[in-house]
Amino acid sequence: MGKLILTVSGLNEYAANLMRRDFVLRDVKVSGELSDVKWHTSGHLYFTLKDESALIRCVMFSRDAELSFVPQNGMHVIASGHVSLYVQGGQYQLYVKDIEQQGIGELFVRFNKLKEKLESEGLFDSSHKKRLPRLPKAIGVITSETGAVIKDIIDVTTRRFPTMPIYLYPVKVQGIGAAEEIAEGIRVMDSMKLADVLIVGRGGGSMEDLFAFNEEIVARAIYECSIPVVSAVGHETDFSIADYVADMRAPTPSAAAEICVPVLEELYMKLDDLIEDIKNSVSNKLKQERRSNELMMRSYLFKRVHAMVGGEKRRLAGLLKERTLHMEHKLNAERLRQEAVFKALGALSPYFALKRGYAIIKHGEKYVSSADMIENGDNLNIIMYDGVINATACGKETYDGE
């Protein structure tokens, strides 16, 4: 008897039926790595699930394809659904109802456990956090030497402070040994004291990618570091344990550089402004002193202008001398003293007084400074500012006191 000859459709349908009835294949959970992930315009998701030696094509229809995460090539997932054969095309594929990220749950648990433990030990305490230096002598960076992180930090730093030195300690930022390298980097930079502030971080990625920064060894290295540490791990919405322990958290590497590095131009300007203020204050104060000094001199002179006795002149000059020394001692002492004396003497010079209507009286060669010096009948010369009057004393009256 010959073998039964089937049509292609018949064959495919047979196989499809077989799989539909198989208790394993009709409800299966498969773990593997995503690759070839494609979103169709129809909303259906097509991808391949693979392990080290085999792969299977998968499809997830749009009605089921509401996911809590963005499926990306390389992700490890568990896909649930059934295996069948697409009869018309003859494709053996996995019809996926649900995908979950593999191991994510486990990572979350580890994260929370460690977070609790370190928090209770006080590693996150704000009292332990150090203030960043206003002017670091250099900045240290612990990150991958390739990639956007170090480039962004260099760009921002150079823009703000062109002469600021940058020391990079290159590390693996994910994978086996990464946490140990990061911790070592922090310790080395701490002991070398090349920089006054450290930036520790990496670019965005999945929770698995970032996990080195959730490891205890990194947290302790940050905590024990004597130099302030700024963390810049992942995207703005990612929070790692390193972020909690660090002295400051930056949402991005550029922000970290902005936090650590001041703007050199602004520092120069601030200095200039302060010096300007100081000079203005001093200049104003000197002006005030000089003004009040002159006022004092003038009012004093006015009271004394009619007394022309030599002794009076000397006494006045002496008082002014004292006053000026006291007021402008250090700066212009000598010059102002002389000025003051000249002024006093000038204001008291006979000519000044004559102009105001006072007269100088001479009896022969003698200058008459009191009524006592004159007798009845004495010839006197009354010297006015514009001429001399000859006069004869014809009587006198003296009074006591002024």
Binding site: F161, P165, I166, M189, L194, L264, L271, I278, H329, L331
Partner: protein, 68 residues
């Protein structure tokens, strides 16, 4: 002396000098002293800002051996 103090410290002192000179009534001696101190601080702080020497260096094991 003053050089060992941090930028923040010296800056804070300069700000205090400025504040005192603008508000207080001072004797001439005090004013001159403050002014001179202010100029001295300015000189030190400017030198600090000028003293930076740009470089981008990778710290490797070789580096640590040399420095250590």
């Amino acid at each position: 002396m003053m050089e060992n103090r941090s930028y923040e410290d010296l800056m804070a002192e300069l700000e205090l000098v400025s504040k005192r000179l603008s508000s207080e009534s001072l004797l001439m001696e005090e004013m001159v002293e403050l002014y001179e101190r202010g100029m001295e601080l300015n000189s030190i702080l400017s030198k600090m800002l000028d003293s930076f020497d740009a470089r981008i260096e990778k710290v490797t094991l070789e580096y640590t051996k040399n420095e250590g």
